[in-house]
Point group: C2
Chain length 136, copies 2
């Protein structure tokens, strides 16, 4: 189970950095929940999740993991940095519901994933906010 979870997290980074939203969505269970960032409305189900990631990868954001993946029973947690080029105001409103600077930026994020027995992600929570954004 631990290996399945680590593989899923590694693939999450790989798919994201290849702008493969469909690949990311396939890591999720059908009725999965995504809250990114925590405190904003939760996206429920594969269709909503796929739409979310299509927007998220559209600007060519790059993810770089910082430190090891923490594995706690059927949960994984990991820290990473997202580097994003300049976004349009439309993209940023729809994609993340948090005010973002207009130029390039890097964002420090921590994600937690909950997995089912098949090794699919059932819940994702992303922790980040304005204080974690650096303009670059």
């Amino acid at each position: 189970m631990s290996e399945k979870m680590i593989k899923a997290v590694d693939e999450y980074f790989e798919f994201f950095n290849n702008q493969d939203a469909e690949g990311i969505a396939q890591l999720y269970a059908n009725n999965a929940k995504v809250t990114d960032p925590v405190g904003t409305p939760t996206k429920v189900g594969k269709e909503a999740i796929l739409s979310f990631y299509k927007l998220a990868v559209k600007n060519g954001a790059r993810l770089k993991r910082n430190g090891p993946i923490r594995i706690s029973q059927n949960f994984a947690a990991f820290a990473f940095t997202v580097s994003v080029g300049a976004m349009t105001s439309v993209d940023k409103d729809v994609a993340v519901e948090v005010e973002l600077p207009k130029g390039g930026m890097s964002i420090d994020v921590i994600d937690t994933f909950k997995f089912n027995e098949e090794g699919q992600i059932t819940e994702m929570n992303a922790y980040w906010g304005p204080s974690n954004i650096t303009q670059i």
Copy 2:
């Protein structure tokens, strides 16, 4: 609110590294919940939380934060490394309910804190497991 949360996380590290379990417990709301590691039984309420931290700090564990504190509305998440000296089998059974090596070790952990409006921690989840333990 963001400043209150960052201050609480900073104090959490300070109290822990001074083996001040009472100080840590004071950062929590009365009816707070602590799950450490995630997947093990949750400790509820200040008394249970104080007992937990008394055991946790007893072996002189040192916490060192890795990377910035992520602030997501009324949640904080942060990565850190715990360095622990040799523990007795009694301590380790009671303290964490996870099998730990007998010698010194370091553990890579990610914690999430949920805060109430008074800036007190209402929920703490710690993500770590056997794969995050390095014998030193």
